[in-house]
């Protein structure tokens, strides 16, 4: 070519920059995998915050309702961590995606992505690209590139734990009667007032029992049958033929079995709430379950009295107590259905009988308590005498 003073030849070339180390695609992948592990760890931590927080909330709610032992809590925690690990495993980016993220984080101008593509190819520039990427990645610690920042998930977890702690603080230690009461009484969130009362009422009574205080707990024990009476045997309280209009949950029930209602009149809430006629065992179950609900309204002898008033069908006297009792009755109706099913299946009769006996014993103790005014004591005593089972007569 004319006018070309220095042609392209070897003497013109600058000294080649020799590679001072072995270029290895495997080393590159290994370096990226380290960062990938870091990303997975961050994902696991992030997901753990979320899942453990959710688990804590659920566990606390369950603890609040029915009680849960340490084993259950540990199982919930394990499940949450397992879920987080699974999510972190599934959502962890691929090696190539990790390379792209490294390019972004370290502003490497797509060096790593290009090197990952080039390492498998046979281009003459492939070793140079891989070497370039290795030079940039060597000595970089994954923790520096991907620091553990868990701002939002950690805040969520902390808030959840606070909520869970609050729930646990007001929850009852687990016990068989409370668990069964909660199963029966507080299922429906719509009847939150009733459910909470049914849970909170027994708490006081039962804890008093465990503390050996007979006066106050006795009232709670009384409240159970008396509330049951409020639903089932209103006529026995002396107002035969009336309907318990203040207890809407109870009113939804059908007419009580006449064999269980000596007055032979209409009573609300004793039935299961689904319109079926109550059987003997059903009524008994309803009585105890409704008593559990009524316990929420009964705190001490006064509450027992209020419940007893409800039992007598004089619902106009204690509006609040009746309303709460109504909520409890709704929940009890659910429980009654379950127990009816169990009873029909042949199982659970003994437990129902045992609960009725326990309620009876408690009622008798309450009646004998000095805290109850004599007039009301006589009233409740008459009521229990009226509703006692044939074998108790």
């Amino acid at each position: 070519m004319p006018g070309e003073p220095v042609p392209w030849d070897d003497s013109q070339r600058p000294r080649p920059v020799t590679t001072a180390f072995e270029v290895s695609g495997a080393e590159l992948v290994e370096l990226i995998i380290r960062h990938r592990r870091r990303i997975r760890l961050i994902l696991f931590a992030s997901y753990s915050c979320t899942t453990v927080a959710a688990g804590a909330i659920v566990t606390a709610a369950y603890q609040f309702r029915a009680g849960m032992g340490a084993g259950g809590a540990a199982a919930a925690g394990g499940l949450a961590l397992g879920t987080a690990a699974l999510l972190a495993w599934l959502r962890c980016p691929t090696v190539r995606a990790t390379g792209a993220r490294l390019d972004r984080e370290l502003r490497l101008d797509d060096r790593v992505a290009a090197a990952l593509e080039a390492r498998d190819g046979h281009e003459p520039v492939a070793p140079l690209i891989v070497r370039d990427a290795l030079l940039r990645l060597r000595g970089i610690k994954p923790a520096h590139v991907f620091p553990m920042k868990l701002g939002r998930p950690a805040a969520l977890a902390a808030a959840s734990f606070v909520c869970a702690a609050l729930l646990s603080a007001i929850a009852v230690p687990p016990g068989p009667d409370r668990a069964s009461a909660a199963r029966g009484g507080g299922v429906s969130s719509a009847t939150a007032t009733g459910a909470r009362s049914s849970a909170a009422g027994p708490l006081r009574g039962r804890s008093s029992d465990s503390n050996g205080e007979r006066g106050v707990p006795g009232s709670a024990q009384v409240a159970a049958p008396s509330a049951a009476a409020g639903q089932q045997a209103a006529p026995a309280g002396g107002q035969p033929g009336t309907t318990a209009t203040r207890a809407p949950g109870a009113q939804r029930g059908s007419t009580a079995d006449s064999s269980q209602s000596p007055g032979g009149t209409t009573a609300g809430g004793a039935s299961s709430g689904d319109g079926r006629r109550s059987t003997n065992s059903q009524s008994t179950a309803d009585a105890s379950g409704a008593g559990a609900a009524a316990r929420g309204t009964a705190s001490g002898a006064t509450r027992a009295t209020g419940a007893a008033r409800g039992a007598a069908g004089r619902s106009g006297e204690t509006v609040g107590g009746t309303a709460v009792g109504a909520g409890g009755v709704q929940g009890e109706a659910l429980r009654s259905n379950a127990e009816v099913a169990r009873t029909r299946a042949g199982g659970g009769r003994s437990s129902v009988t045992a609960r009725a006996d326990a309620a009876w014993t408690g009622a008798a103790a309450a009646v004998s308590s000095d805290d109850v005014p004599p007039r009301r004591r006589a009233y409740v005593r008459d009521y229990f005498i009226a509703i006692r089972r044939p074998e108790q007569k």
Binding site: V6, W8, P14, A115, P124, V125, L128, D132
Partner: protein, 335 residues
């Protein structure tokens, strides 16, 4: 023969050195406009053709001539006028006397047979003459009377056009515009640059570029540029940019949907990729980064987008549309 990595490294170092040398030499004669010079050199090393647009008197011809001088390459200038014929460009067969007095036709080469061809005011040539450039630019050979004549290597056409005087011009058809690797805009110099121009051009001293590299170097550099790797992120960015220039595409930004009639062709993608490869080598990399693609998108796209009536009515420029596309297309694909 496949070069070894060490050879590639050496060639890359030479490329950077050559590029810097050319830039310095051109800078001695041509004042300012660094981006224009960079793009022109990049276009030349990628063996593309450039359309240089600017008002008269800004040094377009000087720029191209200085490039040819700095590389000691064959340079020819074609002043395009309406009476310019295709044979004036490509050459023709002339009857001559051969050995022994035998009369025979021999091919007389036209000015297109040079390493660097400056087609001054190309839009003043008739469409017939303009089309004479088409085969040369794309196929790198010309066919005269059924005989194909290959052009010299390296070969680049640098055409200029004046955006002001449109009287008596023949606007370049889209097919020809698409054959230009870059469209480069020459801007009016600043006051300081004007002062420097006056100092250099009105004195006694005349600047003569020093030539250190030649055609072989340019050919080797063009081959080296093709060796550069384009990784998937950069390639996808190129494709998304091209796709975004089409108004019927779902990825098109509102500015494209409103103002663009036809989007960029696949040649635009080729031009962007090749130019990005050159930029990567200049940056000391052997792979294309997304940033390289963004840097060359404007000169590669702004003559390949055909604006609609709405854009003409609102006086929207192609540059603003391309910038809108660049802003709309994110660097990394959405996950």
């Amino acid at each position: 023969m496949t070069p070894s990595p060490a050879e590639i490294e050496a060639q890359a170092a030479t490329f950077r050195e050559c590029f810097g040398h050319l830039k310095a030499e051109i800078g001695r004669a041509f004042v300012g406009q660094q981006t224009l010079v960079d793009h022109l050199l990049l276009c030349f090393f990628c063996q593309g053709h450039a359309l240089i647009e600017g008002p008269p008197g800004l040094g377009k011809t000087l720029l191209v001539r200085t490039l040819a001088d700095a590389l000691s390459l064959d340079f020819s200038r074609i002043q395009c006028t309406p009476d310019l014929m295709p044979a004036d460009v490509t050459g023709t067969n002339v009857l001559g006397e051969g050995p022994g007095g035998v009369r025979q036709f021999s091919f007389q080469r036209g000015p297109i047979f040079a390493n660097i061809v400056l087609a001054d005011e190309l839009n003043r040539a008739t469409p017939r003459t303009q089309s004479a450039f088409l085969e040369a630019m794309q196929e790198r050979h010309v066919t005269v009377f059924g005989v194909t004549h290959p052009l010299a290597e390296p070969f680049s056409v640098f055409a200029t056009q004046n955006p002001i005087e449109m009287e008596g011009t023949y606007p370049l058809p889209e097919a020809q515009l698409d054959r230009f690797f870059f469209k480069l805009l020459v801007h009016t110099p600043s006051v300081d640059e004007l002062a420097e121009i006056l100092t250099r051009t009105t004195g006694v001293e005349s600047v003569r570029p020093v030539s250190r590299y030649g055609a072989a170097t340019v050919r080797a550099m063009a081959d080296l540029i093709k060796q550069v790797k384009v990784a998937e992120p950069a390639m996808r960015l190129v494709l998304r940019l091209i796709q975004a220039t089409h108004p019927d595409s779902t990825d098109a930004p509102p500015v494209v949907k409103k103002y663009v009639r036809y989007g960029a062709s696949p040649r635009a993608a080729q031009a962007m990729t090749l130019a990005a490869k050159g930029l990567a080598l200049l940056a000391g990399r052997y792979h294309v980064a997304s940033d390289d693609v963004r840097q060359v998108a404007l000169p590669a796209l702004n003559h390949r987008i055909i604006l609609g009536f709405q854009a003409e009515m609102e006086q929207v420029s192609r540059e603003s549309v391309v910038r809108g596309v660049l802003e709309a297309v994110s660097e990394h694909e959405p996950c």
